[in-house]
């Protein structure tokens, strides 16, 4: 039996006095893949931001536990250090900061938190080379400013590179397939599958079942109006394909 990694109970959250999550419940164990599907505005992306501690959302009620810790008490960077990773739907561009500097700082901050050895620039270069090799990314990727002028595909691959650097326990993929062509989706999914840490879990937020051909889910959840209304497996996905969300609304 795998250990419980994430437990969300009766979570209610709002932004600008508007309730987005309404008595939301979810349990994720180690080494599971959960898919959350649902129509636009059902609160899927909000969920990912609340889990990672975005300051704009207000928690009205409920609890979130992650690795037996009260997640809501942790700042976003501590949540990250503890192993929570969000691959952004729209990764943010940052001028003047090289990808290399950014990755090294992020890596060392986590090492520092875990009281492990930090890497100097040369050591980190060796470390990152191995990861670049795994993803078949060229070196020049490191010298470019963080996400600045990256194509949609490059931005998503950079998210995966960051995931490899931070080696998280729970990976949230917020519409990782948006803006990617079919071939790119396949490659990205293969890379995630191959390189994610042993026993790590995934929460996939998506509109399109296509991604599920590559990342086969343990559970499929349908989210409508701030809560999960139905949980199933791949058969549920097929059912949705044929009938849409109509009957769940």
């Amino acid at each position: 039996m795998n250990d419980l990694l994430l437990k969300i109970e009766n979570l209610e959250a709002s932004i600008n006095q508007k309730n987005i999550l309404k008595k939301f419940n979810l349990e994720v164990k180690e080494n599971e893949i959960h898919v959350i599907m649902g129509p636009n505005g059902s609160g899927k992306s909000t969920l990912s931001k609340i889990l990672t501690g975005h300051p704009s959302y207000k928690i009205e009620n409920g609890t979130i536990h992650f690795s037996n810790q009260n997640l809501l008490e942790l700042s976003p960077e501590i949540r990250s250090h503890e192993g929570l990773f969000l691959a952004f739907q729209y990764p943010i561009e940052i001028a003047g900061v090289t990808n290399y500097d950014f990755l090294r700082i992020a890596y060392n901050e986590k090492q520092k938190y875990l009281k492990k050895e930090e890497l100097d620039p040369l050591q980190f270069m060796e470390f990152i080379q191995i990861l670049l090799g795994k993803l078949q990314i060229k070196n020049e990727f490191l010298n470019r400013n963080l996400n600045e002028g990256f194509s949609g595909g490059e931005k998503k691959r950079n998210e995966i590179l960051q995931m490899l650097v931070l080696n998280p326990k729970l990976i949230i993929l917020d519409e990782i397939d948006s803006g990617l062509d079919i071939d790119a989706i396949k490659i990205i999914c293969e890379e995630i599958k191959k390189n994610r840490a042993a026993n790590s879990s995934l929460i996939l937020i998506t509109h399109y079942p296509r991604i599920l051909n590559y990342l086969v889910p343990t559970f499929v959840h349908i989210m409508i109006d701030g809560k999960i209304v139905k949980t199933g497996n791949m058969e549920l996905v097929q059912y949705l394909e044929d009938n849409g969300y109509q009957e769940f609304v």
């Binding site: 931001k49 990672t52 501690g53 975005h54 300051p55 704009s56 959302y57 207000k58 700042s75 976003p76 960077e77 949540r79 990250s80 250090h81 990773f85 969000l86 952004f88 990764p91 943010i92 940052i94 001028a95 003047g96 900061v97 500097d101 950014f102 700082i105 992020a106 901050e109 986590k110 938190y113 620039p121 400013n145 960051q162 931070l166």
Partner: protein, 485 residues
């Protein structure tokens, strides 16, 4: 507003409100002049320093001009009235005899510079920089004099230059910035106390970077230093300047002049990290920094490059400029100005293209936090004879918080139609989404802001000489933790 959001803003405030670490006062015996300004005071200064007649006349002449001038009011600054008769115009650490070497310097003063991270003891120094240290009104000591002397480079305090090289001083002093140039320049010309003098002879590439470190210590004294740098044909020099002051609740006046002269093919690179005390979080105290800096590209192909990192002072009024007279000469201005709390900065440059095919480049980065105002003011003038001249200007502003202000005043004055002028400007605000992205990757808010600011300033920081970049980094990170590398 929810709780978490408030917390984020609070954290931002903590980061940019790092306390001023150089605010201590050194207790030493000082020799004071009576307060106030008059011909008698100027005579007294001149006599005290045993100055030659030409300099006494220069001072008195400047004083006469100053009496007729008014403080400029066009800058985007609100300045409390300054009573020039309540200021001490000359203050020196008391010493019994003439100093022959650094060993004779008051150990308290040496300790002050040690505390500031500046070692004046050559054997302890690792970096390749010669330093002139100016404490209140006088130069305390200059390092590496002998080593420089071998290549013919003169690097000493301006008082010493007046004594030892009066002909050179007489020939060049006040030729780039005349004694009546503006209100503050006239004041400086009348009462300047000390500063640095550099002379790089023909065909010499100065073997060391030269550096002056200015320290205001005295509460009631103004600091009026004056720097003169002359680079002869085919010579080059890298010059660095740093400034700090103790924390006092009253404002202190600093009105400096820097004159640079570059002959044919000469190159002068002048870098400043200005970290005078900026006043407290309510805007009380701090240095009034009124500085006139100007370089003259006299010979063809000469280059003058200004780089400044301005983080201190309660008021900054400063426009390091270039007169591009020599054919094909180049002027550059790279600036970072960071203001916080109630600091006000009105800074920029003037590029005066007079010769043919002259080029200039301006990159200005302004960062405003708290309730501060940060203005860029720049003039690009292309004269009638400056055919085929070029200018590129880029002025970027970065706002942190919602109470700070950034303004840009670019002036163009073009008299020759063959000129090519480019101007870029952008203004950005620190975005919550950027901060969230970085914190999600495990970088705390403090470090994240540092990283964003660092990225914003990168174009300019890379222009600083290696030896200085670290120091600049240190000073910048006093207010903004988390520098890269």
């Amino acid at each position: 507003m929810n709780e978490t959001k408030k917390k984020t803003n609070f954290e931002i405030n903590q980061v940019i409100n790092e306390p001023y670490k150089y605010g201590f006062e050194t207790k030493i015996e000082k020799e004071h002049f009576p307060i106030g300004l008059s011909e008698q005071i100027i005579e007294l200064i001149s006599n005290k320093k045993n100055e030659p007649d030409f300099l006494r006349k220069f001072r008195l002449n400047a004083f006469k001009k100053w009496l007729k001038l008014k403080a400029p009011e066009w800058a985007n600054l609100s300045i409390n009235p300054i009573n020039y008769n309540e200021i001490t115009y000359y203050s020196i650490p008391k010493q019994k005899k003439k100093l022959n070497s650094l060993e004779e310097v008051d150990p308290e003063i040496l300790k002050t510079f040690e505390k500031l991270g500046i070692s004046l003891e050559e054997q302890k120094k690792l970096s390749n920089v010669a330093i002139d240290a100016v404490f209140d009104s006088v130069s305390i000591g200059t390092t590496y004099k002998e080593k420089l002397g071998k290549s013919g480079v003169i690097f000493c305090s301006i008082s010493e230059a007046i004594k030892s090289y009066p002909k050179l001083v007489k020939k060049f002093l006040g030729t780039v910035i005349s004694s009546g140039d503006n209100f503050y320049a006239a004041l400086n010309s009348a009462v300047f106390s000390d500063g640095s003098f550099c002379y790089i002879p023909k065909n010499i590439e100065c073997p060391l970077e030269l550096s002056t470190y200015f320290r205001i210590n005295d509460k009631d004294a103004g600091q009026f230093e004056r720097t003169l740098i002359i680079a002869e044909k085919n010579s080059s020099i890298n010059y660095l300047e740093g400034c700090t002051a103790p924390q006092f609740s009253q404002n202190q006046l600093h009105a400096a002049i820097v004159e640079l002269i570059a002959f044919e093919n000469a190159k002068i690179k002048y870098s400043t990290v200005q970290n005078w005390y900026s006043g407290n979080e309510e805007g009380i105290g701090g240095i009034y920094n009124f500085v006139t800096k100007r370089g003259l590209c006299l010979g063809k192909n000469s280059i003058i490059s200004w780089t400044q990192v301005e983080t201190g002072s309660s008021i900054t009024w400063k426009y390091p400029s270039c007169i591009l007279l020599g054919k094909n000469s180049t002027g550059e201005f790279y600036s970072i100005a960071l203001t916080n709390n109630y600091q006000q900065a009105d800074t920029g440059t003037k590029m005066l293209h007079l010769g043919e095919k002259t080029k200039s480049k301006i990159i200005s980065k302004g960062i405003s936090c708290g309730f501060s105002t940060n203005s860029y003011r720049g003039l690009v003038k292309i004269g009638l004879n400056a055919a085929y001249s070029r200018n590129f200007s880029q002025c970027d502003s970065f706002l942190i918080g919602s109470a700070s202000a950034a303004c840009t005043y670019p002036y163009l004055d073009i008299w020759n139609s063959t000129a090519i002028i480019e101007h870029e400007a952008k203004i950005s605000k620190i975005s919550e989404e950027q901060l969230f992205y970085l914190t999600q990757r495990g970088i705390n808010v403090e470090k994240a802001i540092g990283l964003l600011i660092n990225g914003f300033c990168k174009d300019v920081v890379t222009m600083l000489p290696m030896e200085f970049a670290t120091e600049a980094d240190k000073l910048l990170s006093l207010k903004l933790e988390g520098t890269v590398g």
